[in-house]
């Protein structure tokens, strides 16, 4: 693929993530509000509503974490990166990106195992939705985070400068 098409593809994925976050979150608000109205006014509620809401929290959190990895924007201690010069920063960034890729790969592997066990067990989380569907986001998120840090690492090694946001 040409660089132009890769860029298009990446932009498309990023747009999809943004949209997915907005849709899930707005649905969560609607669901939570529906539960309040149903309980206070009709003394009823959606039986699996709370389960769905809590699984949705995991989903928005992990998609949010995927988005944060685009520019390596995770919560960290910036004591050192703030004070080292721009020349040295790409080295520091490369080291922490390598470490991040390794750890996320291990997390992705074990979450894949977890999802596979659950798939074989076949328990349902709520309504007719099986557990493994809800858990599927975990291996996906760690793979995406690892890939994004790989992109950051490649950029650092190639241009010998840290990646600026939106480049």
């Amino acid at each position: 693929m040409s660089p132009g098409r890769i860029r298009k593809l990446v932009q498309g994925i990023e747009y999809f993530e943004d949209l997915l976050l907005a849709v899930i979150l707005l649905l969560m608000i609607a669901l939570a509000f529906a539960q309040i109205v149903l309980r206070n006014m009709f003394d009823s509620g959606i039986v699996w509503g709370d389960s769905l809401l809590r699984i949705a929290v995991l989903w928005v959190a992990l998609i949010g974490a995927m988005v944060a990895s685009r520019s390596g924007n995770h919560i960290n201690i910036d004591l050192v990166t703030r004070w080292v010069g721009i020349q040295a920063r790409w080295i520091v960034t490369s080291i922490s990106a390598t470490f991040t890729i390794a750890i996320c790969a291990v997390l992705a592997y074990h979450s894949y195992r977890f999802v596979r066990f659950e798939f074989e067990d076949g328990f349902t989380a709520f309504a007719a939705v099986p557990n493994w569907v809800c858990e599927f986001i975990m291996p996906l998120a760690f793979v995406v985070i690892a890939l994004r840090y790989l992109a950051i690492l490649v950029y650092c090694l190639r241009y010998r400068q840290p990646m600026e946001p939106d480049s």
Partner: protein, 428 residues
Amino acid sequence: MIVTLAILALILLAFLGSPLFVVIAGAAMLGFYTSDIDLMVIIIELYRIVDTPLLSALPFFTLAGYLLAESNTSARLVRVTQALLGGLPGGLAIVAYITCAMFTAFTGASGVTIVAIGALLLPALTRAGYSERFSLGLVTTSGSLGLLLAPSLPLILYGIIVQQMNLPQSIDIKDLFIAGVLPALLMIGLLCAWTLWHNRSHPIPMQAYTSAEALAALNEAKWEIPLPFIVLGGIYGGFFAISEAAAVTVLYLLFIEVLVYREISLRQLPVIIRDAMVMVGGILLILGISLAFTNYLIDAELPNRLFDMIQSVITSKYGFLILLNIVLLMLGAILDIFSALVIMVPIIVPVALQYGIDPVHLGIIFLANMQIGYFTPPVGMNLFIASYRFKKPITELYLASLPFMLVLLFALMVITYWPALSLGLLDR
């Protein structure tokens, strides 16, 4: 030997700016691997997030904070407070403390208070006759004032984490909300008193109160003023739980900012939601991974060993509290508040309980320390945000915020060593 080296490497990687969730995951892997436990346990613990009640409050309140920050709520809030309280001695400074505290309670001290309210107040303060250094110090330190007031996110997160731990002494987030009120008022009160005393030689002219301006300001903000009443009234009136209050808050804000004030367009909304969820994702990933790590630490009896170790040196409750304050102040200066809560609370709470400290009181102490950590040199976050926003060298901000810090440290002492201030309104 190898384990020690690995631990040192992890600490080094943390300070080199690796994502904290990665560092904690690395620590958990090291721990479980050396104890021959399947690493899948980390993922199982992460998935336990879905069994945590109340957690949906986190994305909802975070988005609510972002909506408030993106609209002109800050300007309206300043105008109302100024119209009502500007006539008091020291008027504008008092206005600043109160608006910052209210705004932070809803936005959770993410630095947005300095950007949204500080930037409005700084020129107004200098115009009113306060010196530039004083004004800078005021807005920098007020950026985290209000952390103890409901419904601030760190307060809720502390409650969620402690509830996760199945302690003998349970805590209710509603209790935390009540416990934070008097300590927060003490901080604001002391800051006001210090402001008056500091400027005693050149009194600041007072602004006349006019009911026309008061009415106009109230009218402009008439949609936002009900918000705290809806949230707190709903919770304490028993109409909805805290997570539901969060949903109502965000729905109401979406309605007024998008449809009534029209300050946020539908097009901006996905971007605002995305930015808010990036923050939520960062916090929850650390929380989920830490659940695994702290479980390992608790299985390894770290809190007990820590207690025995401290107990051999410090036997009194108050001695322990002094140590706690020092550790937390340092921690608050290098870690952001959410990571600090998630990592430290599970370790500190069991130790503090053995010293006979109430978990609600501990939460207030913890957050009061974190609040000061926000502007503790050399790396408190508020200092950097203010330096960036107001284009001032960071060293100038160190000096400017120092006196305010001393006042708040005094407040911290009172809060720490006088538990009744936090617990008096509760029957614990």
